[in-house]
Symmetry: C2
Subunit: 423 residues, 2 copies
């Protein structure tokens, strides 16, 4: 029954029951963490073979232990360019984090501009980025650190609000880019439709140095048999005559080891050449032994897809369990709405307006750490204070059941309070 | 006999003999590389045990495979802070390259300034750095990329010309720093004296945000039993009341694997805290498994010192051989002057003025790749065109003998030509 249609007395009575359950849980001194998209131990164990690989000579006889090669060993380029569906001269294979590559790309844009003739962004009075929201807090943190002003764009069911985006970028040349997690978006789990990809690639931008940060973090991270398909944006950009518009990022962080993976970026060969000309000065080179380890372990794109099925087998049931509990505890009550993702690491839940912060606080006081409310918006400010990101991967199944049950109790209590207060 | 005191006829005859030897070598189609301080295969083999280490849980039970920890695992902090002789809260343990950490430190200074209240250097019309020369080409390349104007300061036998440095920094507040390789300097092999360290730490600088980049790249890289001792500059800075003045860097690149080592930076805890506040946004964290591997393999500072003796046993004889050939081919001829380093990776040789470029070119035409002449000065411009950096580590002993003999022939031919032309 919808809470809104219950009378105040019934709501108050129901609140008492909820509160008793909450207090019971609180007495148990639980401590669960659902704040980050962190793989669990069983997932990490899937890649233990990595630690057995002792090879250090690559296919060309290069000694990977020594200095040399700033953009990745050839076999790593081969494998990851296939994964991203670009050419080998369109990739750079990096260290252990795509986020570092994203920061690095943006800090280079600030310091040196995005191309030979472009003005370094640091010289401009204002630089703005579009941020589809809810979105990834660490993207927003990078923009904030670099002094890039963020403009919220709403996420729709097929990607960000492209009509608004087209309008904004056509008018304002201080808008220099957009932050995208185009597949199984963080936190909504939405994959951009072909139309959205095409329009992002082809739209007229007043800024000639407009760039799309295309963080394809969940490129092979399906939860169901039939994973979503994302259109190739580099191809779309080329077709539209905007081949330098996009920087694509991916990594093995959630394929092998989050702390010791291999990251990759892709872009037009012109962009890649320019980046390499700076990289060769700013670094000695990535850890080539670790790249070789990954190539030997991951072998092929087909094998990566097989490997990812093992991940799905571990975290898929966790997602299902969360969705089941959400449905049984909150379904039909008209107080919360959530997505059912086909992949990625999150379930995004919207509460009644103005409830998210209170719910997250209340959950924390019962030992459940959620991502702070507001994190999915720039500057930590969710204008409607309603979005909460749930990350089911890390806790064990038992922990997860408890944690989500407590969370659902909190959602209900705070919602009842809101409804009662507004009467 | 000194070339300058030989008559022209004798010089010409001698040149003919030299040129015959040169041509003979040229006919052999040799291909040797002495351009970079690159360890040889035997050195890399010293650390093969690294690849056998499969541990991933640290002493606190932390799973190093997963996300987390931006500044290094505790045991790595313990080991490397001891090596650098600083406290554990004064280090950050990074990825595989100190050079990347140096670039990163300077690019942060450009973007955000070096402290909360300091102006970001990008906002200043001019930023200058002092560069003791001859020096490290990759330091100069970073300054050039970031638009930092470089001022040459001469190296003396006990470190850079400190009288000149003190005078310059006292007068000019656009001088924001100095680039130092304080131990077994690149390429001279000079270790700064205690007095130089103290004066750098205590000198009055007009710029309040003056910083010393202290690239202690050869911290344990001795070639003789009694290695040089370098005074602790962080302590000296603290004593002088300038505790935030210095950033120290080191790495295991030439201890274990150049491409897959562990880098470390050290500074005052205040500086380290500020850097961490940015790092936590710009990156996910370093490769913790590789840090753990290194701690397990290197164990202790004492063990590192023992390990370095094995390196010295491999490259020490190469240095001796080079020095012997230089002495027998060039000694007493008044055309070249070189150092005899106690450690590090280079022998620095000065020719007669205006000869270095020609010699390196001539050597290349006989198959010997040297570091390009001029590289040891900012912008690749050696004002006297005389400094040549010799890197003996990579070639085998036989290759090295040939290479240095050819090099010495080139030095003599070009010197004879210079002397004859000036008569």
């Amino acid at each position: 029954m919808e809470f809104a249609s219950m009378d105040s007395k019934a709501l108050k009575q129901y609140r008492e029951q909820l509160y008793k359950r909450y207090k019971d849980f609180q007495g148990k001194n639980l401590k669960y963490n659902m704040s980050r998209g962190k793989p669990c131990k069983e997932q990490l164990d899937l890649s233990m073979e990595l630690l057995n690989i002792k090879e250090y000579e690559n296919e060309d006889g290069l000694d990977c232990r020594n200095y040399g090669i700033v953009d990745g060993i050839p076999e790593a380029k081969k494998l990851f360019s296939k994964l991203i569906e670009v050419d080998e001269d369109e990739v750079i294979i990096g260290g252990n984090s795509a986020l570092t590559m994203i920061y690095d790309t943006l800090s280079r844009a600030m310091l040196f501009g995005v191309s030979e003739n472009a003005i370094p962004w640091r010289k401009l009075p204002k630089v703005k980025f579009l941020c589809p929201c809810p979105g990834y807090d660490r993207h927003f943190a990078i923009c904030e650190l670099l002094g890039i002003e963020m403009i919220v764009v709403d996420m729709k069911s097929d990607g960000p609000d492209i009509d608004t985006i087209e309008k904004l970028v056509a008018e304002d040349d201080t808008i220099k880019g957009i932050m995208c997690v185009p597949k199984y978006s963080n936190p909504d789990g939405i994959t951009y439709s072909d139309e959205i990809v095409d329009r992002l690639a082809a739209m007229k931008t007043k800024a000639k140095d407009f760039r799309i940060i295309w963080d394809n973090a969940y490129i092979v991270h399906h939860l169901s048999e039939n994973g979503d398909k994302l259109k190739n944006i580099l191809k779309a950009c080329k077709k539209a005559g905007n081949e330098n518009r996009v920087y694509i990022f991916a990594s093995t962080s959630k394929i092998t080891f989050p702390g010791s993976g291999v990251a990759v970026m892709a872009s037009s060969s012109e962009n890649i050449e320019r980046i390499k000309s700076k990289l060769i000065i700013q670094m000695i080179g990535p850890d080539k032994i670790n790249q070789l380890r990954h190539v030997k372990f991951l072998k092929s794109v087909e094998n990566i897809e097989e490997h990812m099925k093992k991940h799905a087998k571990i975290i898929g049931p966790k997602f299902s369990e969360v969705l089941n509990i959400l449905e049984s505890e909150l379904g039909g009550k008209g107080i919360a709405f959530w997505n059912k993702p086909n992949g990625g690491y999150f379930i995004s839940l919207n509460t009644l307006d103005g409830c998210a912060k209170k719910i997250v606080k209340m959950a924390l006081e019962a030992g459940i750490t959620m991502t702070p409310a507001g994190s999915t918006y720039p500057y930590g400010k969710d204008p409607r204070d309603r979005n909460i990101r749930i990350a089911p991967s890390l806790p064990s199944m038992d922990e997860l059941k408890n944690a989500i049950e407590i969370f659902c109790i909190c959602v209900q209590i705070v919602s009842v309070d809101k409804l009662l207060n507004s009467r």
